[in-house]
């Protein structure tokens, strides 16, 4: 056996470096793929051999999807996990191989694609963007040199940054970046336009990706609770699972990947009908994380939100700023369980972390005590991000209004943590943006 074949066999046996591009409804299934021992979810397409599109991506994000695809080094493959068995249109990726089924089927398809690329002669997916530079770098001299400005010419068609006053009273360059929708450090589907000086955020605009299809994800228990009574036990388990999945995302962001896996494993076990031991384990995990001292340094005093700046924001973010507001306190069924809202005073990312994990523990207790009690349909249900009445704007829209003011002045690393601590859902923003168009 030749050296090349031996190396290919070794490479094919390693966990597959896969880059995930979650679309509508793909965020939590993509999270669960992190638990597979056969996959290594990487944070840049440059490190991946397989790109996996999870859920629906509309044609509006075709160019962005193609650009991420082209950034995978050869040999590369692209797969699409169709979670709704043909109900959604395929993503705008002509070379994507469609996979239907559960996580095991998807992991199997990804591993097969990876092995096919390395040893079975599967052809690498060709580039999708045209091979043209935005503009040639051409100055006025005979060799393209010279011209206006520091460098002369326009380097690859991109203008040099413009100047703006910075926090020290200096007039320095301002870097304008449009990040997302598949930058792993941001919520999947969020496009962030940010103006940076050094690594200090000067201005932020948030928008959902045009690739998010409103209504593509199946209705969850929180959406059903807006129109019909649902079992409190089911609702509270879904809340605990949501908060634990969110904690898993934040831990990946902080570089604690092994710890994130532990939380995700606990989160996926929180389902209606789970064994009491599994739920007790999830509650212990959440409780331990809520008081973990090692998380104090990256999150304490980051992204401070005073109670006066909350505006329309309710839910865990408001409760972390010391405001006692929880739609569940209005519900007679919850009152009969002796429900009290979990609050913190500090208003920083750490306080939001503690409120959400404290709520996860409380939700698991409520689910155990609730028996077959149902929610009252007259009361606005409290979702994992805040109250959301039928036909009203989503909690994410209020959070998206809060976020820019919160991030300005922070260094980029803190800004990313502060944004993650708000638990924004871009799909909710997309649904809100689509609503006025539907009604007119």
């Amino acid at each position: 056996m030749g050296l090349r074949a031996a190396l290919s066999r070794l490479a094919a046996a390693a966990p597959v470096p896969v880059f995930l591009a979650p679309g509508a409804g793909g965020r939590s299934p993509a999270q669960r793929l992190r638990l597979s021992p056969y996959l290594e979810v990487v944070d840049s397409p440059r490190r991946a051999t397989v790109m996996l599109v999870v859920g629906a991506v509309a044609a509006g994000a075709a160019e962005e999807l193609h650009r991420v695809h082209d950034q995978l080094p050869h040999p590369r493959a692209v797969l699409w996990w169709d979670m709704e068995t043909g109900a959604t249109a395929p993503p705008p990726l002509p070379t994507a191989e469609r996979v239907v089924g559960d996580e095991a089927a998807v992991v199997g398809a990804v591993v097969a694609a990876h092995r096919g690329l390395l040893s079975a002669g599967r052809p690498s997916s060709p580039p999708l963007l045209a091979d043209v530079e935005p503009n040639d770098w051409r100055g006025v001299g005979p060799f393209g040199q010279g011209g206006k400005g520091m460098t002369g010419g326009t380097p690859y068609g991109r203008p040099l940054p413009t100047r703006a006053p910075d926090r020290d009273g200096l007039e320095l360059d301002q870097l304008v970046l449009t990040l997302g929708p598949w930058l792993p450090m941001l919520p999947a589907g969020l496009v962030v336009e940010v103006k940076l000086q050094g690594d200090v955020v000067q201005e932020v605009t948030l928008a959902p990706s045009p690739g998010l299809v409103p209504g593509a994800a199946p209705a969850d228990v929180f959406e059903r609770a807006r129109v019909e009574p649902v079992p409190i036990a089911e609702l509270e388990l879904a809340r605990a699972r949501h908060h634990l999945l969110w904690a898993g995302e934040v831990l990946v962001l902080l570089g604690l990947v092994a710890e994130s896996r532990r939380v995700l494993r606990a989160a996926v076990a929180v389902v209606p009908g789970a064994a009491a031991a599994e739920l007790a384990h999830a509650a212990r995990t959440a409780g331990a994380l809520a008081s973990a001292r090692r998380l104090r340094h990256p999150m304490a005093r980051v992204g401070l939100v005073g109670a006066d700046r909350l505006g329309e924001v309710a839910g865990p973010t408001a409760r972390a700023s010391g405001v006692v507001t929880d739609a569940r306190t209005d519900d007679p069924a919850y009152r009969s369980l002796g429900f009290e809202a979990v609050t913190e005073e500090a208003g920083d990312a750490l306080a939001r972390w503690r409120v959400r994990l404290g709520e996860a523990v409380r939700s698991l207790e409520l689910a155990a005590e609730a028996g077959d009690r149902l929610t009252s349909v007259d009361c606005t249900p409290e979702g994992p991000r805040g109250p959301w009445r039928a036909g009203g704007p989503s909690p994410s829209t209020a959070l998206a209004h809060l976020a820019p003011g919160l991030l300005v002045g922070l260094e980029w690393g803190d800004a990313v943590v502060a944004l993650a601590s708000l638990d924004l859902e871009p799909a909710e923003l997309a649904a809100d943006a689509a609503r006025p168009a539907e009604s007119t």
């Binding site: 091979d131 043209v132 935005p134 520091m150 910075d166 020290d168 304008v176 449009t178 941001l186």
Partner: protein, 114 residues
């Protein structure tokens, strides 16, 4: 002389081969779309060359200044045994003066650069 020339030639050859091998193993980006930096899907709007205020600059200068003071420690260490406690006193006085400088820097908030 011949050995040195040969060594430089071999190092240059090895470097060239490593670059070629790296490009052929990793699959060097060949199209314009493959070469752009990863921003999560969006294209970069401005060039990445930008000047910003390096706030740690005064701190770096301070470090250099205090680092150079330590040069005086070497001759002192050579005569320390023969001079005895007098040399120790002199060095403590020298360091005390430096510490006053650090305290002044601290008061002027030059150590905070975040």
């Amino acid at each position: 002389m011949l050995g040195a020339v040969l060594a430089i030639f071999l190092i240059a050859l090895a470097g060239g081969l490593a670059i070629r091998a790296g490009a052929s193993i990793a699959g060097a980006a060949s199209t314009a779309g493959e070469r752009v930096p990863m921003l999560g899907g969006c294209a970069p709007g401005t060039h990445a060359w930008s000047r910003f205020h390096a706030r740690w600059y005064p701190m770096a200068l301070l470090f250099l200044a205090f680092d150079m003071e330590m040069v005086f420690m070497y001759p002192w260490a050579v005569v320390f045994v023969s001079e005895g406690p007098l040399a120790l006193m002199e060095m403590l006085m020298f360091i005390a003066i430096l510490v006053v400088g650090i305290l002044y820097t601290w008061r002027e908030r030059a150590l905070e650069w975040a």
